[in-house]
């Protein structure tokens, strides 16, 4: 949220994508977050991903809760409808929006306070229901807007800027998402755009509940020596499980010469996720192995990033509810109202 409107200057030679938009068309208002905030990098990655996916911005509905992270949807996709809801309860609003119109793409942006504390129940239930969306948590382990309190993802033993030690064990949203039935689960780092952009692209194209936990250091309150969510800590302990490329349907698949095992996963919409596995022992289609793998590495203080789990055949809440193909929001009385004659029959049965 900002008072400053972004100047609409377009360089004449800016490259356009297949739907005729430049990268600038995916931007929003000027960010009011602190300079160097990881969240702004994530916004940039979302812009890049949507541009590369040739998504028409107005076909995206972006929803958030409350907090620094939840302010960010104002800073990208300015031509999209956005909804800054209440603290921790973006998932339910997104679920309702999705039920009303299944034709749009849903992007949920949340923070660790938003999703792991007040909104943990809604986060869990949205994952379990398989709402089709890309759910991104911008995770900095701290409450920034209220000036530096620990959030529920802060690691046990980590220190606040004031030197207070956190005694509580952390909520691991990735572990929860895996357990609850999310069908696309990834972790990334706001400082690793090369990894984050394809992960977001994969999540946007996914047919079910896609979750990405993005470690996004808070430069003001949680970027110091004692923090496990600082730039330095994550850079030192980042253990990427894979590097991925996302290839949209019909796009030429170029030859791959990089070392390491290559896994190609075709999504329901024909898009392709190509994973260059850095860890040969990780199978991204095995939910339980992914949980094990992540926990084992976490025990050694490592932050495992990359695509941890994927079900390429995932379905969503609409499939479960067997809703019609036409958006419910567009149905009129002719499709919804049983009419006076049916009502007279009901009356007759009640006499």
């Amino acid at each position: 949220m900002t008072f400053i409107a972004k100047p609409r200057l377009h360089h004449p030679t800016l490259q356009t994508n297949k739907v005729g938009y430049t990268r600038r068309d995916y931007e929003g208002r000027i960010s009011t977050l602190c300079a160097g905030c990881g969240h702004d990098s994530i916004s940039a990655a979302i812009i890049q991903a949507c541009w590369e996916l040739d998504i028409e911005p107005h076909r995206v509905a972006k929803l958030s809760g409350i907090g620094c992270s939840s302010k960010t949807p104002d800073y990208f996709l300015g031509a999209s409808h956005g909804f800054n809801t209440v603290h921790g309860r973006m998932p339910s609003v997104l679920t309702g929006a999705n039920l009303a119109n299944r034709e749009l793409l849903y992007l949920g942006v949340s923070g660790d306070g938003d999703s792991a504390s007040i909104g943990l129940g809604q986060f869990a239930n949205a994952m379990r229901r398989g709402v089709r969306m890309a759910y991104i948590v911008e995770n900095n382990g701290v409450y920034g807007l209220t000036k530096g309190q620990f959030s529920a993802t802060a690691d046990q033993g980590s220190k606040s800027k004031k030197g207070v030690v956190n005694n509580d064990s952390p909520v691991d949203l990735v572990g929860l998402a895996l357990q609850l039935g999310a069908t696309y689960v990834a972790r990334s780092f706001s400082g690793d755009k090369a990894q984050l952009v394809p992960l977001i692209k994969g999540a946007m194209a996914h047919g079910g509940a896609a979750f990405i936990d993005v470690i996004s250091p808070c430069v003001t309150f949680n970027n110091h020596g004692g923090s496990t969510k600082s730039y330095d800590y994550v850079r030192q302990h980042n253990d990427a499980v894979s590097r991925i490329d996302f290839i949209t349907p019909g796009q030429e698949i170029t030859a791959e010469y990089a070392p390491g095992e290559l896994v190609e996963v075709t999504n329901h919409d024909g898009s392709l996720l190509r994973l260059r596995k850095l860890h040969a022992d990780h199978d991204p289609t095995d939910r339980y192995a992914a949980m094990n793998y992540m926990h084992q590495h976490a025990a050694h203080g490592e932050v495992v990033t990359g695509l941890l789990y994927l079900d390429p055949l995932a379905t969503d809440l609409h499939t479960a509810l067997n809703t019609c193909a036409v958006p419910l929001a567009s149905l009129g009385p002719d499709r919804l109202c049983p009419g006076a004659a049916a009502l007279e029959k009901i009356n007759a049965a009640l006499r």
């Binding site: 949220m1 900002t2 008072f3 911005p57 107005h58 076909r59 509905a61 929803l63 104002d74 031509a79 999209s80 409808h81 956005g82 909804f83 800054n84 809801t85 209440v86 309860r89 998932p91 339910s92 609003v93 997104l94 679920t95 309702g96 929006a97 999705n98 039920l99 009303a100 119109n101 034709e103 749009l104 129940g121 809604q122 239930n125 809440l317 609409h318 509810l321 067997n322 809703t323 019609c324 193909a325 958006p327 419910l328 929001a329 567009s330 149905l331 009129g332 499709r335 919804l336 109202c337 049983p338 009419g339 006076a340 049916a342 009502l343 007279e344 009901i346 009356n347 009640l350 006499r351």
Partner: protein, 606 residues
């Protein structure tokens, strides 16, 4: 010994044990009365419990057509030893007691002045049926059979009902018929049939239907075009989404594909259920949730967001006894203020106040239109008494020419044509801004919805002038709502009077009876039945036209009274509170008594 003599005008109460299968037998009795053309209004009085605790079914038979609870019991069917003493105490002098005489009961347990009728129900059914569950269930049908003889009910009424109910299920039909006849034959052979209480065919039901408010509300939501329902189970509202789902499966499944033109989610809690409704409303679907007081408490933050962000939301609040868990299975009208001003900050919400199942249907359908038109939460304030009890009411009506009022939604074409779009701009002077739905246009009309303040073009703003413009516009919108909501219904006295009475919702049937009773005594009052909040202009006019106005409601703190004083700047001295809040439905006896007592101070009634 004097005995009550009454034809088509008495109260019969069944004292049963929860889970014993008595509900369907008792309902059968009420339906038989209705089929004889005699108005009947039954009420379930039940504990917050699954099985084993006492439950009562009280049916008022009233040829004059009063549906309110009368008070007192003319005949008790006492099937629950646990509540024997309290049940006996309720029987009016000269009244009747029907009980299971299989095991002897000491004579001192029978109250004096009551006609005791013993039927060895357990013995009769044990001889006729071997299966333990059948023995239990058919005991209930057998006492209905005995009543048929004792009250001299028309031959064939029950048989016809059974035939309809068990069409194609011959074994069930025969077994039920047998139990009915066992009870009837015993009564005819051993008891003084008929009693002083009797049934006689009348023609007072007409084309009325017999249904409960929750089913009716669900049907109204179907007809009104709700497509997204999100809910969390809570008594006494749960049967609304359940009935909605049933009707959806009947009317909203595409024949060719089997796909659904609806989405129903049982959410994880009330917060999520209202959140889904807000999301669906924002995205253009007609969405609702149904809940009760504790659910409304949990929803209030979202209700504030929907009010301020201007999102259509429909909430059916089936009120029960509060505060907190209060009396979950008893009735009250005590969520008025909690709903009218739900959430922090300055808010005002539209309340609709149906009086019976017919209006539950009408108001639920209207709520969806109003929510879209006004882009705001609309509450349909029913209660347990209307919601969970069957009542005779006018049949449901629908005009096939009626289309849905989707309100001010700017289309792609209008945006394309260059129409100015300011999401929170009052272009029409009615306080209602235009909105666009997500996905409408590639470059125009997108806006950011938020709970923080903004300027008329939906841009974040903390300027005081922008905030005040917005808040004043919301107030203007609320005034516009007063003309759009269902208007009050006047019930003038038969002669000019200085006294008036204001009432609403489920109080209405008892109120109409009380007005007739008082009029017969020479006490004349003009009645005004409120059907919505905000109050239309006719409400202050009504109050101004009377020296004293009684406000009758079912809560402790006179919530409607407070709202009238607060919203209309009325001198509180002009309004007299008549309050009933013990969890039972208000009676005409209570209302007439309270008004009479107050009137003693006025020598001249009119």
């Amino acid at each position: 010994m004097k005995r009550i003599e009454a034809v088509n005008d008495f109260v019969i109460k069944f004292a049963n044990v929860n889970g014993s299968g008595s509900a369907s037998a008792n309902e059968l009795f009420a339906k038989a009365v209705m089929r004889m053309g005699v108005p009947v209004s039954p009420r379930n009085i039940f504990p917050s419990n699954i099985q084993g605790l006492p439950t009562w079914y009280e049916a008022r038979v009233c040829e004059k057509g009063y549906h309110g609870r009368r008070g007192g019991v003319d005949m008790m069917v006492a099937m629950n030893p646990q509540t024997w003493d309290t049940d006996m105490a309720e029987i009016e002098p000269g009244g009747y007691l029907l009980y299971d005489s299989t095991r002897p009961i000491p004579p001192d347990r029978f109250p004096e002045g009551v006609h005791v009728l013993g039927v060895p129900l357990t013995e009769i059914v044990n001889e006729a049926y071997a299966d333990p569950r059948q023995r239990q269930l058919f005991k209930n049908i057998a006492y209905i059979g005995a009543l048929a003889a004792l009250l001299d009910m028309e031959d064939g009424v029950f048989e016809k009902l059974f035939a309809e109910q068990y069409r194609g299920k011959e074994r069930l039909l025969d077994a039920n018929m047998k139990a009915l006849h066992l009870g009837r034959d015993y009564a005819l052979a051993h008891l003084p049939c008929p009693l002083g209480l009797r049934m006689r065919r009348a023609d007072r039901v007409g084309d009325q239907i017999f249904t409960d408010g929750n089913s009716a509300a669900a049907l109204g939501l179907i007809y009104g075009g709700a497509t997204v329902a999100a809910w969390y189970p809570i008594t006494p509202s749960s049967s609304i989404p359940e009935a909605f789902e049933k009707y959806c499966h009947k009317f909203r499944v595409e024949a060719s594909t089997g796909q659904h033109r609806f989405a129903i989610v049982q959410a994880e809690d009330e917060l999520a259920s209202i959140g889904m409704v807000v999301g669906a409303g924002w995205n253009g679907a007609r969405a609702f949730t149904a809940t009760s007081g504790p659910g409304v408490s949990l929803m209030t933050e979202f209700i504030g967001l929907a009010y301020f962000a201007e999102v259509p939301v429909t909430i059916i609040d089936v009120q029960r006894g509060g505060p907190s868990t209060g009396m979950p299975t008893r009735t009250q009208q005590s969520d008025l203020i909690a709903c009218a001003y739900a959430s922090h900050g300055d808010t005002k919400h539209v309340l609709l106040l149906p009086q019976d199942p017919h209006e539950c249907f009408e108001h639920s359908a209207a709520a969806l239109d109003l929510a879209d038109r006004l882009q705001t939460p609309i509450f349909v304030m029913t209660d347990l008494d209307i919601g969970m009890n069957q009542r005779l009411c006018k049949p449901f009506v629908w005009d096939d020419a009626r289309s849905y009022d989707r309100g001010k939604v700017m289309t792609r074409e209008e945006l394309e044509a260059g129409k100015d779009f300011g999401r929170y701009k009052d272009v029409d002077g009615d306080g209602i801004p235009w909105r666009t739905l997500p996905g409408t246009h590639p470059t125009k009309g997108a806006f950011f919805t938020r709970g923080t303040t903004r300027d008329p073009y939906a841009r974040y703003s903390e300027r005081g002038t922008d905030y005040v413009y917005n808040m004043e516009r919301l107030l203007r919108k609320f005034r516009t709502a007063a003309a759009l909501v269902p208007q009050p219904v006047h019930r003038p006295a038969s002669q000019p009077t200085r006294f008036g009475v204001i009432y609403f919702g489920s109080t209405s049937p008892a109120m109409h009876e009380a007005l007739d009773v008082l009029q017969a005594e020479g006490v004349h009052l003009d009645g005004l039945r409120l059907r919505a909040f905000p109050f239309p202009e006719s409400v202050p006019e009504f109050i101004a036209a009377h020296e004293k106005v009684f406000v009758v409601e079912q809560n402790r703190d006179a919530q409607m009274h407070s709202m009238l004083v607060n919203e209309l700047d009325i001198d509180p001295a002009r309004l007299v509170r008549v309050l009933h809040y013990d969890g039972t439905p208000i009676t005409a006896r209570f209302i007439a008594g309270a008004i009479r007592k107050n009137m003693v101070w006025h020598k001249e009634y009119a």
